[in-house]
């Protein structure tokens, strides 16, 4: 039922003028993918710096508060650009993404990762000084965050290799 609805939507979408333009101008897809990956690069670096600091692996002498203030906002600045460039890719090739189970998994992980980042943002920005060990729940959250964002990147690449329904 859900698959059928998505299939009809995808077929309608691929017939729209916007979609046919994206399909017929060969540079749009690679250019959009490049912008998408560059934004992913900023987000991933920001996530990894903060999470690895929480886990005591990176920048141990720097305060968590400073790192969080410096890097976490990038995620929220770039998420709209990621959603917009992602939308262009979907409109251009609806069948490749909407009906792809890996794409579904990516979107699910993205929602959970975004909610987790939102939930951890406040305690991270008000975390204790550099010498103190972050609390247990922050470390668990950082570990989960690393796994989720890595999964998002992996899923993004695997969309190209897994067949749609």
């Amino acid at each position: 039922m859900m698959v059928e609805t998505l299939r009809h939507f995808g077929e309608w979408l691929s017939g729209t003028p916007l979609s046919t333009t994206i399909q017929n101008v060969p540079w749009i897809i690679p250019a959009t993918q490049s912008i998408h990956i560059l934004c992913v690069a900023f987000v991933m670096a920001a996530v990894f710096v903060v999470d690895l600091r929480v886990l005591g692996v990176l920048a141990r002498t720097q305060s968590l508060e400073t790192l969080s203030h410096r890097y976490l906002p990038w995620i929220w600045y770039l998420l709209p650009v990621l959603l917009a460039s992602g939308a262009i890719l979907i409109i251009g090739e609806p069948g490749r993404s909407l009906l792809n189970p890996v794409f579904g998994a990516k979107m699910l992980m993205l929602v959970v990762a975004a909610l987790l980042t939102l939930a951890l943002g406040r305690p991270l920005r008000h975390a204790a000084d550099a010498s103190a060990r972050p609390r247990m729940y922050l470390q668990a959250g950082a570990m989960l965050s690393l796994l989720l964002w890595t999964g998002i990147v992996f899923a993004g690449r695997w969309i190209a290799y897994v067949a749609s329904f």
């Binding site: 250019a31 990956i37 560059l38 992913v40 690069a41 900023f42 690449r157």
Partner: protein, 164 residues
Amino acid sequence: MLETFFQWLHDTGLAETVRANPLMFPWVESVHVLAITLVVGSIAAVDLRLLGVASRSQPVTRVIHDILPLTWISFTVAVLTGMTLFTSSAVDYAHNGPMQMKMLLLVIAGINMLVFHLVTYRSVGAWDDAPRAPLPVRVAGATSLLLWIGVVVFGRWIGFVSGV
């Protein structure tokens, strides 16, 4: 000479293993993409500080010190996975235009980093805390940022040009 080398790479056991296991390429490629995002993102964070755009209240040395281990570890992973992917179709990739451009930009980025480190960075004490660094520093940051953007663009382009 070079052709013989690429053919030899193509015939190595590693290349044969990648070709014989269809799932291996996408897995190695996924790790490669992950590593590249971390390399480019972490370098961009430093470049934006050099340009005086981000982290202006932090000393340059501090920003670099915090993030550099992530850059180097990710870069090592990116090189190892990249070489694995390259060997699997070494001859084809060697003739792939975007791949050649990507390698050229990587070499220039390396030279830019070396010059920055050996020349410009020596006077860091004088501009470490300044929100806006001297012109040569900002030029190095802008150059690095543009080169790495180019690396990502040409890297993505590789798959669109040939059948590899």
